[in-house]
């Protein structure tokens, strides 16, 4: 067996690889921005929106171990907040983004409270209930406050400094870049959280609550605030959806939306940083490809023989995936990649000088442990 190549973290080589990776992604984005049709840009925008939601769910479920089937509700709340405040009160859309995130954060904190006492399937049930209640709340809101069956989406005008006009093509281009920027910001927030002391405490709580608590991690605080932050980030996805959709109604953010977030997360790989992004794009474009190109198979039984078999094939794809790559695409690639190259941490800073009063004598090394 060949030894994997060792790359030292933050070494010039490591940085070079990072720069190459980021530039490649940026080049792809620029290529699409200058060549793709508005409809394609719209699809990428949708995939980015799904990715933001999956990243937000990853923070909660992947890293902190709290399941939520209610993330569609946070997205819905943010979308309705944006749609209504911009249309009825003529708010600045950017203000509505801030307000939507704050509202989602508060609702997330609230939902995080029962989550303190519940785990696994029980927490899934409570959050499922929230996802089920949302359409009813949305319908009441539409009937009583909006007095219409739908709420208009939020039309974002490209700011003048972008040099983009307020027409269909330029708006698509603007939304494309905006969704990418928001995805990068969301990703950066979760990445920096994960790499920090707070991030270690999140994973610690997930892996062993008792050990985390005796290490000084405040469990209720950590868990509820994580729920809140995750909800606020899901709100970003909802706000972005309100900018893309012409109309919003009570079914725009149903339990199926939550399931979609979960699928995207697990396809890409929960508890990995890139997983939810990769998963969201994979899911979205696999779904899209199947919907537009699915064959009609007469030999299939029952209702499947009548129409295209897109959802059937997507289901099969998901099941096959779970078997081949249970850790998700990114988990799978990481496991394979580890055979080729590993990133090793840099050496530690040297121990303090002998004059340091806090330094104390170390005992001799312990014997080898099997």
């Amino acid at each position: 067996m060949t030894m994997p190549i060792k790359i030292r973290e933050s070494s010039p080589l490591h940085w070079a690889l990072r720069v190459v990776g980021v530039s490649a992604l940026a080049a792809i984005a620029v290529y699409f921005a200058s060549n793709a049709a508005p409809s394609t840009l719209g699809k990428i925008t949708e995939a980015c929106t799904l990715a933001i939601a999956a990243v937000s769910l990853n923070l909660l479920l992947g890293f902190n171990g709290q399941i939520s089937l209610g993330h569609s509700t946070f997205a819905g709340l943010a979308a309705f907040t944006a749609g209504y405040s911009v249309n009825a009160w003529h708010w600045n859309p950017w203000v509505s983004l801030g307000v939507a995130c704050v509202l989602c954060f508060a609702l997330g904190l609230l939902l995080g409270l029962p989550a303190l006492r519940l785990k696994g399937p029980y927490l899934a049930l409570v959050t499922l209930a929230v996802a089920f209640v949302w359409p009813t709340v949305a319908r009441k809101f539409l009937q009583q406050t909006v007095k219409a069956s739908t709420l208009k989406g939020m039309r974002l005008r490209p700011p003048t400094w972008t040099g983009l006009a307020n027409n269909r093509v330029d708006r698509a281009l603007f939304l494309f870049w905006l969704s990418l920027v928001l995805l990068v910001i969301t990703y950066a927030i979760v990445r920096n959280l994960r790499k920090s002391r707070i991030g270690r405490s999140l994973v610690a709580v997930r892996d062993n609550e008792t050990a985390a608590a005796v290490m000084g991690v405040n469990l209720p605080f950590t868990k509820t605030v994580t729920f809140g932050i995750s909800a606020a980030l899901a709100g970003v996805a909802g706000w972005l959806a309100a900018a893309q959709l012409a109309t919003l109604d009570e079914n725009s953010f149903s339990i199926l939306t939550s399931i979609k977030y979960l699928l995207a997360l697990f396809l890409g790989g929960a508890a990995t940083l890139a997983g939810p992004v990769v998963g969201a794009f994979t899911y979205f474009f696999a779904d899209d490809l199947l919907k537009t190109n699915a064959p009609k198979w007469d030999f299939l039984p029952g209702p499947l023989s009548k129409g295209p078999v897109a959802s059937f094939l997507l289901g099969v794809l998901v099941i096959v995936f779970v078997f081949i790559a249970p850790l998700g695409l990114v988990g799978f690639v990481k496991a394979q990649g580890r055979k080729l190259a590993v990133v090793v941490p840099p050496p530690l800073r040297p121990a303090p000088k002998a004059s340091d009063p806090t330094a104390h004598a170390s005992p001799a090394p312990a014997g080898e442990v099997e």
């Binding site: 405490s201 062993n208 985390a212 005796v214 800073r349 004598a361 170390s362 442990v369």
Partner: protein
């Protein structure tokens, strides 16, 4: 004769349990500064409950005094800051974090400087951990995980280390090494240690004082020598 040492931890009339179930019914122990105290007890005697009561994980009544300060009403994070670290039963390493991240998590209550120097120090004491620094803790052997759990607890720079059944699930030779390490931490760094154990043989060898716990209270206490000579304890825990 060991000279009289100042008490570091004093537990008086400790009552604790889970909901309606009372596990500890008036427990008294004293751990002196710089000593290794061992609490022996069978399954269900209340060993882990005692640990959890001291580290603030469960509601408790009675008085617990650490370096002269009462900690009965304090939360776990305050207790860690005061200088009590716990190695939980079954090690409780964070399997998805790397060895280094586990150690850094151990320094959760500390801010800023000295953490890297401490990492370096414990990697010196536990060279196997240095070798596995960037590996996930879940891939370590049981013995390595126990060492990691101890090193992680030490990252909070405790004055008192609580070890909950460190020998659990380890091969005898590994347990032996483990107790050697604990012994050295005590003699070379002056770390005070409270160990709860069923493995009386090994524990008695490094203990200064010993408490025997039965159904929620201490039934015998004394020096390791005295307890080893106690007939009841010998038949119950040493098997001869």
């Amino acid at each position: 004769m060991t000279p009289e040492r100042a008490p570091l931890l004093e537990v008086r009339d400790l009552v604790a349990g889970y909901g309606a179930v009372q596990v500890l019914t008036g427990l008294d122990i004293t751990v002196a500064e710089g000593e290794v105290a061992v609490m022996l007890g069978a399954n269900g005697a209340g060993k882990t409950t005692t640990m959890r009561a001291i580290s603030g994980m469960i509601n408790r009544k009675g008085t617990i005094t650490f370096r002269g300060e009462a900690l009965t009403r304090r939360a776990p994070d305050e207790i860690v800051r005061m200088g009590i670290a716990q190695v939980p039963q079954g090690r409780g390493t964070f399997t998805d974090l790397t060895v280094e991240e586990n150690l850094r998590a151990g320094a959760y209550v500390r801010k800023g400087s000295g953490i890297e120097a401490d990492l370096e120090e414990w990697f010196g004491v536990f060279p196997r951990l240095r070798e596995r620094r960037s590996q996930k803790a879940g891939g370590l052997s049981g013995g390595e995980q126990q060492m990691l759990a101890i090193a992680r607890a030490l990252m909070s720079r405790p004055k008192l280390l609580l070890c909950d059944e460190p020998s659990l699930g380890l091969a005898p030779i590994i347990t032996q090494e483990l107790f050697d390490v604990l012994k050295r931490l005590n003699t070379e760094q002056g770390l005070s240690i409270l160990i709860v154990e069923q493995n009386a043989n090994l524990a008695l060898r490094i203990a200064h004082s010993v408490f025997v716990l039965e159904t929620g209270s201490i039934v015998a206490s004394g020096t390791a020598q005295e307890i080893s000579n106690n007939d009841a304890v010998r038949t119950a825990y040493l098997g001869y």
